[in-house]
């Protein structure tokens, strides 16, 4: 398979889908547009000569087209047309993608150290024909590499948890992946925590949030006596009460180096909670606990970066955490009480089975981005009137950031003075970095960004069968209704088709064969996946125009070189939580 791709990066790229994202290939098929970047930063024109000669295909073919454009109109997100083979049709990149118009002067920010531009100059794509075809087992091994399932153990044959278990999975597009996921059971209070975290400008912040946020939430939920007991145990060197039981995939790691630092920050938090306690034992409000935990963790991330650490590795780490960002969508399930705390544009979707067996989606979170009018309003109100035009520009915060709420991202939170001070005193790596040094335009009245979540409460009903938490990588490619239907049918085994019987009709072998082949194609994608999240990813990446998984397409999408994958899709992280309708029903009746 050759890489003779016809690339185009021109103003036409961002025209509406109807007019095509670039060229229509000789094969008569549409080429693909890359997903939008979360952040754009300016690129000095000096970096453009990076497109030197001798650049192998496809960049080589890509280059003349770029040169034809005005340099200032280089878009961070270039359009790739792989006219013969990657013939992704418009449905794959939904309209929502095209809403985004990058700032003319900004090229993609990829990650602090290795931007995509650097990739194109530093690495040579193999100019030899690339092998694209993956066999079904190869596809499966890629799709299943990160899958994880957890079943809540049953005690005495009686399952008392309203959660049956969950399936989770993630598929990287960035290298390394910037998404994170977490799941844990609260041991000192009842309930289970599940969350997806979408990082940008690197994975440092999403990693830190995935490790720390649940501790903050669990601590916020703890009664005063338990906090005291834990604090006393720390003080006297006794064994601590365990707070969380993690349910982790082997690939989900925790940073060993920062563990002590993180613990100290957490301990300060609960010490303050103890001090704040007025003595009256009030019921802990979950919504308040979630909001406090989010804000507190973000505050700690910010403080740790300002204070620094004598250990140079840790010092660099806390700075990277603070200068990168992450959204978070967290669910807390305790009996019939479901709370979703969301910061950013990941989404929580409830799968409801109607009486007739059909599936409907109930959204339990609001996206914090330019498509949410209330968010735009909020931002405008929080800043002087004269900033009304600049605070949200090209559907991005200050023209740069897609999510309007996030952890980290101190560039949108700190004053210019503080940013400069920290960077100057920081390690060289930080100083050399284009991105960290760059101050957003029209930066007058920080903070522009908050980690405060919006909390939604839902009381579970027996018809609420599952909850899907996923980063925008999924929601960009699939409609919520499809997501819920696919998961619903997967979980309930609705896919079992009626057997065929010839029964007196005139059927030829050929007709029967055609019918059977079609049925098998439908079945195979269902049976291949034990894990509902894997099944969703298979659909998200491999769906054709008709909503059926197309192996050829799947194989092409998954065999993209590491450096290019991000141009066709975003990281996808999914958690599917399954509820126990019997327990939910019983809880309802009791009350």
């Amino acid at each position: 398979m050759d890489w003779a791709a016809a690339g185009r990066a021109s103003a036409g790229v961002w025209a509406p889908a109807a007019s095509g994202c670039g060229s229509v290939s000789p094969a008569g098929r549409m080429c693909v547009c890359p997903g939008p970047r979360r952040i754009g930063i300016p690129v000095r024109s000096s970096s453009l000569p990076l497109f030197s000669d001798a650049m192998p295909a496809p960049t080589q073919l890509f280059f003349p087209l770029i040169r034809n454009c005005e340099l200032s109109r280089i878009y961070g997100t270039a359009c790739y047309c792989h006219h013969k083979h990657l013939c992704c049709s418009p449905p794959y990149i939904p309209q929502s993608h095209l809403r985004y118009t990058p700032h003319p002067a900004y090229a993609t920010f990829y990650r602090p150290k290795d931007s995509w531009w650097q990739y194109t100059q530093g690495r040579r794509y193999a100019s030899t024909p690339q092998k694209f075809y993956l066999t079904p087992p190869q596809v499966n091994s890629i799709l299943k590499a990160n899958e994880y399932s957890f079943k809540v153990p049953e005690f005495d044959g009686k399952n008392v948890s309203s959660v049956l278990g969950f399936d989770s999975n993630q598929l990287p597009a960035n290298a390394p992946i910037e998404d994170r996921r977490s799941a844990a059971t609260c041991l000192q209070t009842r309930g289970m925590l599940l969350g997806v975290f979408d990082g940008h400008a690197g994975c440092a912040c999403s990693q830190a949030v995935s490790e720390r946020l649940f501790y903050y939430i669990a601590v916020s939920l703890l009664p005063h006596e338990t906090l005291l007991e834990i604090e006393n145990a720390v003080e006297s060197g006794r064994a601590l009460l365990p707070i969380l039981q993690w349910h982790k995939h082997p690939n989900d790691y925790f940073s060993k180096e920062a563990s002590k630092l993180y613990f100290n920050s957490l301990r300060t938090y609960w010490q303050e909670l103890i001090d704040l306690n007025t003595g009256e034992s009030t019921d802990i409000d979950v919504k308040e606990a979630l909001i406090n935990a989010f804000k507190r963790l973000d505050n700690d991330i910010s403080l740790e970066a300002q204070v620094g650490d004598p250990n140079s590795f840790l010092n660099y780490l806390v700075l990277r955490v603070a200068f990168s960002g992450a959204t978070a969508c967290v669910a807390h399930v305790d009996g019939v009480d479901l709370h979703v705390a969301n910061t950013g544009d990941s989404r929580a979707m409830l799968g409801v089975q109607e009486e007739d067996g059909s599936w409907s989606a109930v959204t339990l979170s609001n996206d914090h981005n330019a498509q949410n009018e209330r968010e735009v309003e909020r931002l405008k109100l929080e800043h002087p009137k004269n900033e009304a035009k600049s605070v949200v520009k090209q559907d991005r915060l200050l023209g740069l950031l897609m999510p309007f709420r996030a952890f980290g991202d101190v560039k949108f939170k700190w004053s210019i003075d503080l940013q400069k001070r920290v960077i100057e005193s920081g390690p060289d790596q930080l100083n050399d970095n284009e991105y960290t040094k760059f101050i957003p335009p029209n930066y007058y009245t920080p903070p522009y960004l908050t980690a405060e979540p919006e909390v939604t409460y839902h009381r579970l009903r027996p018809q609420d069968k599952f909850l899907v938490l996923a980063t925008d990588g999924l929601w960009e490619t699939m409609h919520r209704q499809d997501v819920v239907r696919i998961v619903g049918e997967h979980l309930t085994g609705m896919h079992h088709q009626q057997p065929i019987a010839v029964g007196g009709y005139k059927v030829t072998l050929g007709q029967m064969h055609g019918l059977l082949t079609e049925r098998r194609a439908k079945m195979s994608s269902v049976f291949e996946d034990q894990n509902a999240a894997t099944h969703l990813i298979r659909h998200a990446v491999g769906n054709n125009e008709f909503g059926a998984v197309d192996h050829e397409r799947l194989s092409k999408m998954l065999s993209l070189p590491e450096e290019l994958a991000r141009m066709y899709r975003d990281d996808i992280t999914i958690i599917v939580v399954q509820f126990n309708s019997h327990v939910v029903g019983a809880c309802q009746n009791q009350e």
Binding site: T508, G510, R519
Partner: protein
């Protein structure tokens, strides 16, 4: 392959024709009558209890097909017939535009897993799919019978391969898809013969979807079996007694037949092991050996090590390892054989069938003298190799018997003899004697310590002198090994190599093994498996029952006259036949062949069943073969016949006839020159270390 004589018959018509022919000869057929159970008195069939009354009979033949298992179990003393049904689908179509003629050949496309034949001018096409659907696991089930419906989705792969092979058939109109369960057995061979526990209870079932083609022959042999007590051909491989109750688990059968059915159309390679229904019987050392790289094969449910893969070596994946050429384990077995020849190896041989026969008086010796062909009246502590012959002088079993005391004997037989040998002994032992026959297979773990250094290992572990002066060959002694007392040590290795078999009460197995490995370290001990054993054995012309020897081969035909007490004036089963044979001469002779111009690396290997040519004339087939690492040649064992050139009649085979011939072995159409030997190569028995062979490693401390 086109077979012009090929024919298509309708099974229903054949059955009806047979039934009417039988009726004309006075056979009564009871329609719509169910059998409740078979009546047995004193281990002998006396009649059948049906829902319409009793029927007296001397013989009962269970040919109930997929219900044979259940019918067998309905007896008071159950007869275990391991088989299991799988759904089987075939397609019927309307006639072709030009209807197929009755002489249209039957077509089998093994790669596509399908067969196609003429059916009323249209086609009948079915196959053996990769993912069979076992059925009736819980027995005859009315619900399942009624739900035997067409499953088109299941048939889809077969339909695809049919249309891939013959795209033109696309336009044919479907009549229906028939679901007709077929019965399969754990080893893809049918089941026939007499029950080991009930005399007169015969079985013919489990035809693995080939009932119609095998029916005629199977019926003939079963009839002979009932009339004469044995069939005219060796059909041990089909004998019900190759199985025991241990293969009767429904779970086992359900899993195994799912592997067996697709195998019908798979390429069957030598030394292939079933993957399902494994790890049923294991030695206590299984985990230890497995952790050391053991690869396993299964015999009669028992896991046995084939060889040990060194940590730094990778073998091919299962599918890739299928070959008729030099296999990937060649070098591994080579180093194991070398270690057996030069140092010492330990092989776990616990699977061997072990019986103990004791009596209060002298009956044990009397009975055994009649049952076995060699003289067992030897001093206590001696081991005798002997056959257990039938009336025709053929081997029913080939075993080693140690005389433990005046009145007790310890008998070691091949693994798959557990059911057959037991039944044979029970049949011929006087009923009212106070003889005790006990199956002690499970009580002992057997370790074979092979090699010149086995002596050193054992004497160090027992503080007893083990040299041939103190412990001559074919001798058995109970002694202590390590801390464990009461270990039965026998100076034989089943290979002709020096060494010892240790029969260890199972609770001591791990201890003794650890001690042997610990002490053996300085003698260069290592684990070895059955492939090494096999190579050593065949290289030394040791024939093995079940492979080389069967119920139709006599001791005289394989040069074992010295193991028969013909001249001692004692009666034993098969004596008359042997005396007659001795007088008349033998009509076939087991011979060892050493391949001369065979390239081990490049040529196809002999496995077994290769034709033997003498002076260009076909004279027989090989029965087993192995690469002899010492001879650096392939060795085949096989029987040489002397067919008259004019009539094809069998004539006497003399040593002279064998020696004066030029031999060739035909491997897949290519003939290789072979040297014929009637006795093992003597040089193999002398272990002389040449001076220039000494290596530094030989200087390691002792």
């Amino acid at each position: 392959m086109h077979v012009p004589e090929d024919a298509v018959v309708s099974s229903a018509d054949v059955a009806l024709a047979l039934a009417s022919a039988a009726s004309q000869n006075g056979v009564q057929i009871y329609d719509r009558t169910s059998i409740l159970h078979v009546m047995v008195r004193k281990g002998q069939v006396t009649g059948v209890e049906t829902d319409k009354g009793q029927i007296q009979c001397q013989y009962f033949v269970n040919c109930a097909g997929q219900w044979a298992y259940e019918l067998g179990l309905s007896n008071e003393e159950p007869v275990s017939i391991p088989l299991h049904a799988c759904e089987h689908f075939y397609l019927l179509t309307r006639p072709l535009e030009t209807p197929l003629q009755s002489n249209a050949p039957t077509i089998v496309d093994a790669d596509g897993r399908i067969y196609i034949r003429n059916w009323q001018g249209g086609i009948l096409s079915g196959g053996f799919e990769k993912n069979p659907k076992p059925i009736f696991t819980e027995g005859k089930n009315q619900l399942e019978i009624q739900n035997l419906q067409e499953d088109w989705d299941h048939f889809e792969p077969l339909l695809s391969s049919l249309l891939r092979r013959m795209p033109e058939l696309e336009a044919l109109e479907i009549v229906k898809l028939v679901n007709c369960p077929e019965t399969f057995t754990p080893d893809m061979r049918c089941i026939m013969g007499e029950s080991p526990s009930v005399q007169g209870y015969f079985v013919l079932a489990g035809m693995n979807s080939a009932g119609l083609s095998f029916g005629g022959g199977a019926g003939k042999y079963l009839a002979e079996w009932m009339v004469h007590g044995y069939p005219s051909e060796n059909i041990w491989e089909l004998d019900l007694k190759r199985f025991g109750a241990l293969q009767s688990s429904r779970t086992f059968l359900r899993h195994r037949v799912m592997e067996v059915m697709p195998l019908l159309y798979d390429l069957k390679v030598p030394r292939w092991d079933f993957q399902t229904g494994r790890q049923l019987r294991t030695s206590p050392l299984y985990d230890r050996l497995d952790a050391q790289g053991a690869r396993w094969m299964e015999k009669h449910g028992f896991e046995r090590p084939k060889y040990f893969v060194p940590p730094d070596k990778d073998l091919l994946a299962l599918e890739q390892s299928k070959t008729f050429y030099k296999p990937d384990w060649f070098e591994i077995v080579e180093s194991e054989v070398k270690c057996c020849k030069e140092a010492v190896c330990v092989i776990d041989m616990s699977s061997f069938t072990k019986f103990e026969i004791t009596s209060t008086g002298d009956q044990a010796l009397e009975v055994l003298q009649y049952l076995f062909s060699n003289d067992l009246d030897v001093p206590v502590g001696h081991i005798v190799h002997t056959g257990m012959l039938n009336q025709g002088g053929g081997y029913e079993n080939d075993c080693s018997i140690a005389r433990l005391s005046k009145r007790s004997f310890f008998m070691i037989s091949p693994t798959d003899q557990q059911v057959h040998c037991w039944a044979w002994l029970k049949k011929y032992m006087p009923e009212d004697s106070n003889l005790i026959l006990e199956d002690v297979t499970w009580k002992y773990t057997a370790l074979n310590l092979i090699g010149p250094r086995a002596v050193d290992v054992l004497s160090e572990l027992s503080y007893a002198p083990m040299t041939p002066d103190h412990f001559p060959s074919l001798f058995c002694k109970e002694m202590s090994v390590g801390y464990a007392n009461g270990i039965r040590v026998m100076s034989m290795t089943h290979t002709g190599e020096p060494g010892f078999m240790l029969y260890i009460p199972i609770e001591y197995a791990l201890h003794v093994y650890n001690e042997v490995m610990g002490v053996g370290q300085k003698y260069g001990i290592r684990n070895a498996g059955y492939y090494a054993l096999r190579s050593l054995r065949i290289e030394k012309f040791f024939a093995f029952w079940g492979q080389d020897l069967n119920t139709l081969t006599t001791p005289l035909e394989c040069g074992r006259e010295s193991r028969v007490k013909l001249d001692k004036g004692m009666d034993f089963i098969g004596r008359d036949a042997l005396l007659q044979q001795k007088q008349n001469g033998v009509y076939k002779r087991l011979t060892m062949f050493i391949l001369d111009d065979h390239d081990t690396d490049l040529d196809l290997w002999p496995w077994w069943g290769e034709p033997i040519y003498r002076n260009g004339q076909y004279v027989g087939k090989t029965t087993s073969s192995a690469y002899g690492y010492t001879l650096e040649r392939h060795v085949c064992l096989g029987f040489v016949h002397n067919f008259s050139e004019d009539t094809g009649e069998e004539q006497v085979v003399t040593a002279d006839f064998i020696n004066r011939g030029e031999y060739e072995i035909d491997i897949a159409g290519h003939r290789f020159q072979a040297k014929a030997k009637l006795y093992p190569v003597p040089s193999l028995f002398t272990h002389k270390r040449r001076k220039d062979d000494v290596e530094l490693s030989d200087l390691q401390g002792k």
